[in-house]
């Protein structure tokens, strides 16, 4: 019999940090870098094809789990928008002294607005702290990029946002 009543599809932080798509700690401090949260062997290489700088490697065996090369990554966000699984996000740890910049894919309507305060949602689907939207980039393929300022300790926990709508 299963003890847990609920089980969500969310990697533990330990497993996340072990992924080939997760940059080493020193690389995280070095400017914007992509995190490819793709833990399973699935035949897909869109991230590799999307990167103009060759910073993501999947290889000929397209089932391989993607690897990030932080040296090559400039944080352009192409992978964030193109990944069919919406599994890639960008991290800029030292965007300001207090806040990190998290760039996530977003496919909901309405899009948030720059300057708006929204609620961060964790990987598990729980509401986290309010976060400010630093920028929104609509992309032609329909997957927008949203940049949010997050407290540094939350940088690897927040994966989505919720816009609290005004009740009319």
């Amino acid at each position: 019999m299963n003890d847990s009543q609920e089980e969500k599809a969310a990697l533990s932080e330990d497993k996340l940090f072990e992924l080939p798509g997760f940059p080493d700690e020193e690389d995280l401090e070095d400017g914007p870098v992509a995190v490819v949260e793709c833990p399973e062997e699935i035949a897909c290489n869109v991230c590799e094809a999307a990167c103009p700088f060759g910073a993501i490697k999947v290889g000929r065996e397209i089932k391989s789990v993607p690897e990030i090369d932080p040296e090559k990554c400039v944080g352009c966000g192409q992978c964030v928008s193109q990944c069919p699984g919406l599994a890639v996000y960008l991290v800029d740890m030292n965007y300001t002294d207090e806040k990190a910049l998290l760039t996530i894919p977003y496919e909901f309507s309405p899009l948030p607005e720059e300057g708006e305060s929204v609620t961060g949602i964790t990987r598990e689907g729980n509401k986290s702290s309010p976060v400010k939207v630093e920028g929104v980039d609509e992309k032609e393929n329909g997957t927008a990029i949203v940049k949010i300022l997050v407290p540094k300790p939350e940088i690897h926990r927040i994966r989505g946002i919720s816009i609290e709508e005004n009740q009319s």
């Binding site: 019999m1 990697l11 399973e40 699935i42 035949a43 909901f108 689907g125 989505g160």
Partner: protein, 375 residues
């Protein structure tokens, strides 16, 4: 009776690529589909597809359909839409009903790319309005742009269930729960995570639906935990407030028409159910009858795209349109891509099953003249 070189039955991804490969090689091909538009299940899919460039990876389902249809039209594939095949006679003759008239089509080769149909589970209250298949939910929401309700409970956490959950959130609906009988979510991690981090979606693994209740339509469901024998555990019932119960419990190959050709099939649980036996050229045990896509085993759109190509090349070669050596090269290329697509933890099991089907075919069967199943 209309004589044709090749009839392709089913205008989803497999049927479209098969038609394209045939038409590229100057084969006269008619694509028959019972719907108003070709595109199959791609038309309802708003997410970007996986795979690599050859499989339109990164392109949204409905756009893949659009591109394939355009390519087929550019190559002068003959589209017979709203055409429903109601019988298959001797020597592959297809009886087609369109509007109020019928016609017989006699093709030299036929490729069945009829896809898959949804499985259902029964429970008290399953006949209430509000209980519907995941395909129905997608059709109403993504094609017709109408939500069939406000609070959805999804039964089944495979890729279909988790993708539909996400699509429902995108459409502004609430997902009251995802209910999964197994002890872990069945879908790819990325599909599941994408859904759960986008809204408040309780996920109940090791749970099953016990009943749906309501007066005139569903207003709640009871779920319960299951034990190791899949039996509901007394005392673990929970009531969920919901008005649509979306059944995402699996797909099976749509083999009604292939069975009429007399071709042999086997049961494969991994591939969804009854699968027509076929060789590495996608040809069945009945001469000149090919299969491609989900009807040859439920897999994914990228596989359907490649199998359609394989069947198209095979049929073209059998009609003398390409030389044996060219055929061998082209097929090897496609098979190489299929092998890559069937890599990884989800693909491996299917790859094994497809291999088993091929070996059974080669060991046990000799191809025979086409025949019909007489009742």
């Amino acid at each position: 009776m209309l004589n044709k070189e090749v009839a392709v039955v089913g205008g989803g991804p497999a049927g479209l690529t098969a038609s394209i490969e045939l038409a590229k090689r100057n084969v006269d091909v008619t694509l028959i589909d019972e719907n108003l538009q070709a595109g199959g299940q791609l038309l309802k899919q708003t997410h970007k597809f996986f795979g690599s460039e050859e499989h339109y990876a990164g392109v949204r389902g409905f756009n893949i359909a659009r591109e394939l249809i355009e390519d087929a039209k550019d190559l002068a594939v003959d589209f017979l839409l709203e055409g429903s095949i109601y019988s298959v006679y001797e020597d592959k003759v297809l009886a087609v009903k369109k509007e109020k008239s019928t016609r017989l089509i006699s093709p030299e080769r036929v490729i069945f790319a009829t896809g898959a149909s949804e499985k259902v589970i029964n429970f008290p209250g399953w006949t209430l309005p509000g209980v519907m298949g995941a395909g129905a939910v997608q059709t109403f929401v993504n094609q017709h742009r109408v939500l069939p309700g406000r609070k959805f409970t999804i039964i089944g956490s495979g890729n279909v269930g988790t993708i539909v959950a996400y699509q429902l959130l995108q459409a502004g609906a609430e997902v009251a729960a995802i209910v999964e009988a197994a002890d872990e979510i069945g879908s790819y991690y990325v599909h599941a995570n994408k859904a759960v981090r986008s809204g408040d979606i309780p996920v109940y693994t090791s749970h099953t639906i016990k009943e749906a209740t309501g007066g005139e339509s569903v207003d709640s469901v009871k779920i319960a935990q299951v034990d190791d024998s899949w039996q509901p555990v007394p005392g673990t019932e929970k009531t969920i407030d919901t008005d649509v119960v979306c059944l995402a419990v699996g797909l099976r190959p749509r083999t009604k028409l292939t069975s009429l050709t007399g071709c042999r099939s086997i049961y494969s649980s991994t591939l969804g159910g009854e699968v027509p036996l076929h060789d590495e050229s996608m040809e069945t045990s009945t001469d000149g009858v090919y299969v491609a896509g989900d009807v040859a085993g439920v897999e994914e759109a990228s596989i359907a795209i490649e199998e359609g190509r394989l069947a198209g090349v095979s049929a073209a070669s059998s009609l003398g349109y390409i030389s044996n050596s060219a055929e061998a090269d082209q097929k090897e290329e496609i098979r190489g891509r299929l092998e890559l697509l069937r890599g990884g933890k989800y693909g491996e099991e299917r790859a094994e099953e497809k291999e088993r089907i091929r070996s059974i075919f080669n060991e046990r069967l000799t191809r025979r003249e086409s025949s019909t199943v007489r009742r």
